[in-house]
């Protein structure tokens, strides 16, 4: 009942299109992360969903009902959408105590005092803030304020929860606790969650699917592992995960989405994007890219791909080398032992992903 559909949503501020032709389908109960660089329009998209901004074009529907459809003059007020939202700036009310802040959604819905108090206590317990119930928000630390904002959102058990970088101010430990709280809440209530973040580790850890945004557009929306293994374009490949995208021009297609690619003197077995594989025009062009992840690359003196070590960093348990290839490209590689800067090494590549590099310009 709380599936969310966005169809060709556009929102401009003056001449600037903050959200550009965005279409998204989010299933009921799904946990979606919205990931993207700063200023790409994540907050704006969230505000469109919540109803604080009216789209210039397109349709937003919640649970099958259009809530914003400028073409048909439909615009449902935010207060009637029953969506929970946690703001980037907390937005706590300074004149109300923590408990009243948290209980306000229940107050609006006219719940009885006893019921309300019980739920407030439960919500505060979820975020470990029971002792602070009677304080004023001004007397809390940044992280505590953030947690009050979360509790206020969770207490109303909304049909969908919109979170704008809710954990940005918390320390690592608390962040994990809160992530767990979100996941628990999500499992318990089955509410749809949309979670804005620019921390990809967080997005990958929590979300069923991740939508990557850039300059107002959705680049790709897929499960975290798909996003990581099979990025749709250059921007996603570069933004998500470590690794490198190398331009390639010679591909030999095998069956079942596999191909072999030449890189310097080496022949690499890689997976290939279905669209490229089935389109021979694209294949012969010189705009293909090969995405390599560090865990698919080994240092091995027998390797035919040669390069020299530019940099070596210990990550705990393993080293990350930056290896400069002959073609002046730089590859991140994980290694088990330290390497000297400038040392010549051989590399073996076990997997890669071939896609159309020009896609983002065309989009």
């Amino acid at each position: 009942m709380a599936d969310i559909n966005l169809s060709r949503i556009t929102k401009s501020f003056g001449d600037y299109r903050a959200v550009n032709q965005v279409s998204l389908d989010i299933a009921d109960g799904e946990f979606v992360a919205l990931l993207g660089p700063s200023g790409c329009g994540k907050t704006t998209l969230l505000r469109l969903l919540a109803g604080f901004e009216e789209p210039d074009g397109g349709v937003i529907s919640l649970g099958g009902q259009a809530v914003a459809d400028p073409a048909n003059r439909v615009m449902v007020n935010p207060e009637a959408r029953n969506l929970g939202i946690v703001f980037q700036s907390y937005a706590l009310w300074p004149h109300m105590s923590v408990a009243r802040n948290v209980g306000y959604p229940l107050e609006v819905r006219g719940l009885g005092r006893a019921e309300r108090d019980a739920r407030i206590a439960k919500a505060l317990a979820t975020v470990a803030l029971e002792p602070y119930a009677d304080r004023n928000p001004t007397e809390l630390s940044g992280g505590q304020r953030q947690r009050v904002a979360l509790a206020r959102c969770l207490v109303m058990e909304p049909r969908a929860v919109l979170l704008d970088e809710p954990l940005a101010n918390l320390d690592v430990h608390l962040r994990e606790t809160m992530q767990q709280a979100f996941l628990d809440f999500h499992r318990r209530t089955g509410a749809t969650m949309i979670y804005v973040t620019h921390d990809q580790a967080e997005a990958m850890a929590m979300a069923d699917r991740i939508a990557v945004m850039d300059r107002g557009r959705i680049r790709q929306m897929a499960a975290p592992e798909t996003l990581y293994r099979e990025p749709a374009d250059h921007m996603v490949a570069g933004f998500v995960g470590a690794g490198a995208v190398l331009p390639i021009d010679d591909v030999a297609i095998h069956d079942a989405g596999r191909c072999s690619v030449r890189l310097g003197d080496a022949a690499i077995q890689a997976r290939i994007c279905q669209k490229v594989a089935s389109n021979s025009d694209m294949r012969n062009g010189r705009d293909l890219g090969l995405c390599l992840r560090p865990e698919d690359i080994w240092v091995d003196d027998a390797g035919t791909l040669r390069g020299s070590v530019e940099d070596c960093v210990y990550l705990g348990g393993r080293f990350r080398l930056m290896v400069r290839l002959d073609g002046d490209q730089i590859l991140p590689v994980y290694a088990t032992k330290r390497a000297r800067i400038g040392e010549a090494v051989g590399l073996v590549i076990s997997d890669g992903w071939v896609f159309d590099r020009t896609e983002d310009e065309a989009a």
Binding site: E79, L83, V108
Partner: protein, 578 residues
């Protein structure tokens, strides 16, 4: 479990009302209707007098008035005195507001309390006190041997004298507006600047001043417009020096009476209105370019340490306060205590006869107190109730209509009170359709007060709305709270300090108001201002001063009550409380 279903059930029920584009917001523009009736209609009615002669449209009055050089001399004089007066208000009120709100000076509550008092003394009484104080026959200056030589001109009978008193009179307006604004200044923003290395003057000029510029601009605009329409001070100081401003010119025209008087007054009124609107338009232009919404938490006050300079600053503040408060009050009290006007006061001849006379012999004093109290409290309460939603509409749902209303509400305040009074008489002498007359009742004074003081209550509230982080309201909206509920639960408490400041301003201004009620009163319906004026006018200056002293005492008592109750009221409702 039942509660869960209730929560879930909340959704489908409300989503169905989606036909309306923000349907509840549609109601908001209707708020503009009462504003039209009370503040724009009377003005329109008066304007008709200026452009119609005998029911026929004509530009004769306009040509007559604008072609006359006295009009332009008075305009220049008005601009000069109001402009200079505003600068003085800004310097005094601004300095007080900044120092009280942001630094660690001591005895803030007392300081603020005292600073509010000069505003409560009617302007003509202030002018009288200062004239008695500074002239060649000043008791005080003679005593210390510094009086100007006999026969030398009274220094206050000049443009600069008018400006000085206007500046002192309206300093509290700047102070209150700015302080309401400073309250919302979050500590973090100043702390961030200090960490960035901003110190001393740089901190003031580059961070605090720009952040508070909305309040500064609003206070300046209000002080200017108030000074422009002030009648008491230029009348007392300008007329003896043959120096006229637009309000005194209008007064002189009215006094002269002739067949064309209404038409000419109407044109002059439009001229003042036009200047006021220009000033306000400029103010909105300036404000429009700054969207300094203060993000983050509000509420924790700031205490910049002044260190060794603290005592010096305190001494200067108290010295200024003594000059603008204690000295004129002394003059007033002295006049009230003399056995007869003109008699030199000494320790042996003072008498309380005047107080006895006004309080126990003449019934009109108590009646006037009652009337003025009802009128000013009624106006303050009504206006705050109108202004909270109105300010919300103007700030958060701007349209061309609200822009117009925003400018027009300024007009009844900027016009001299007599002009507003004439407009109200013209309009309400017989209300069309329902056919009743308000003239001769307290009702007409009440309506005129609503029109005149609307803007005083409106500006501080607008100011604080435009500074609130919109997310505060949006968060409540996401919680399911509709417009009314958000106003009540979120916006109103957060705007309460400014609304209270506005209400207090209305109350204080209305309590001593003279120029509007001067034409509208009738026997039994006199206000305090009228009473004082009539006593003074008929030569009973001593009785007038006695009433004025009683007024000041009553107001100070009321303020003290507020002060004592402030611990029970929400934080910041009493504007002078720190």
């Amino acid at each position: 479990m039942q509660a869960v279903s209730r929560l879930r059930g909340f959704v489908p029920g409300t989503v169905r009302q989606m036909a309306g584009n923000r349907s509840s917001d549609r109601l908001l523009p209707w708020l503009l209707v009462p504003v039209f009736v009370i503040s724009i209609l009377p003005m329109a009615r008066l304007a008709i007098e200026g452009v119609f002669i005998g029911g026929v449209p004509s530009t004769d009055y306009i040509r007559d008035v604008l072609g006359n050089s006295t009009t332009w001399r008075a305009t220049t004089n008005s601009l000069y005195t109001a402009g200079l007066g505003t600068i003085i208000s800004l310097l005094i009120g601004g300095a007080f507001a900044f120092l009280v709100a942001l630094t660690d000076i001591r005895a803030k509550a007392v300081l603020v309390f005292c600073f509010m008092i000069p505003m409560m003394i009617p302007p003509q009484i202030t002018a009288l006190a200062w004239v008695q104080l500074t002239g060649p026959s000043s008791a005080l200056l003679n005593a210390i041997g510094m009086a100007p030589a006999m026969g030398s001109p009274q220094p206050l009978y000049s443009a600069e004298g008018i400006a000085l008193l206007l500046g002192i009179q309206h300093a509290s307006i700047v102070f209150l507006t700015l302080r309401a604004n400073l309250r919302l200044l979050p500590r973090e923003q100043i702390e961030a600047a200090r960490l960035a290395g901003a110190r001393g003057g740089r901190l003031w000029w580059q961070i605090i001043l720009p952040l508070t510029s909305p309040g500064l601009i609003a206070g300046t605009a209000m002080a200017f417009v108030t000074a422009l329409g002030n009648f008491g001070i230029p009348a007392m100081l300008g007329i003896p020096a043959n120096y006229s401003t637009l309000p005194t010119l209008i007064y002189q025209k009215l006094a002269g009476f002739g067949p064309s008087v209404l038409g000419e007054v109407s044109v002059l009124a439009m001229l003042i209105g036009a200047i006021a609107i220009c000033g306000v338009a400029l103010h909105h232009r300036l404000l429009g370019k700054r969207d300094y919404r203060l993000m983050g938490m509000v509420g924790r006050p700031l205490d910049i340490r002044l260190g060794a300079r603290r005592s010096l600053v305190e001494i200067v503040l108290w010295a200024v306060l003594i000059a603008i408060l204690v000295v004129p009050l002394m003059g007033l009290i002295a006049t009230a205590l003399v056995p007869a006007f003109g008699v030199k006061l000494s320790l042996s001849n003072y008498s309380f006869d005047a107080f006895y006379e006004v309080l126990f012999v003449q019934p009109s004093t108590i009646r006037a107190f009652h009337n003025s109290f009802m009128l000013s409290v009624g106006a303050a309460v009504t206006l705050v109730a109108i202004c909270l939603p109105l300010a919300y509409v103007i700030v958060r749902r701007p349209t061309r209509l609200t822009h117009l209303v925003n400018l027009m509400v300024e007009v009844p305040y900027a016009l001299p009170g007599v002009v507003l009074a004439i407009a109200c008489i013209l309009l309400f002498i017989r209300i069309p359709v329902i056919n009743i007359s308000l003239y001769g009742t307290l009702g007409i004074i009440f309506v005129a007060y609503l029109a005149r003081f609307l803007v005083i209550a409106l500006r501080p509230v607008m100011n604080s709305f435009s500074q609130l982080d919109p997310a505060l309201e949006e968060a409540a909206q996401a919680c399911g709270a509709g417009v009314g509920r958000r106003l009540r639960d979120i916006l109103l408490p957060l705007a309460a300090p400014s609304a209270a400041a506005g209400a207090l301003l209305v109350f204080l201004t209305a309590f001593n108001e003279l120029t509007v009620s001067a034409l509208l009163w009738s026997s039994g319906n006199e206000t305090l201002g009228v009473l004082i004026f009539n006593l003074d006018d008929s030569g009973d200056t001593v009785l007038a001063s006695a009433v004025a002293v009683v007024v000041v005492i009553v107001v100070i008592t009321l303020m003290t009550c507020f002060q004592l109750a402030s611990r029970r009221l929400p934080k910041g409702v009493v504007p002078w409380q720190t």
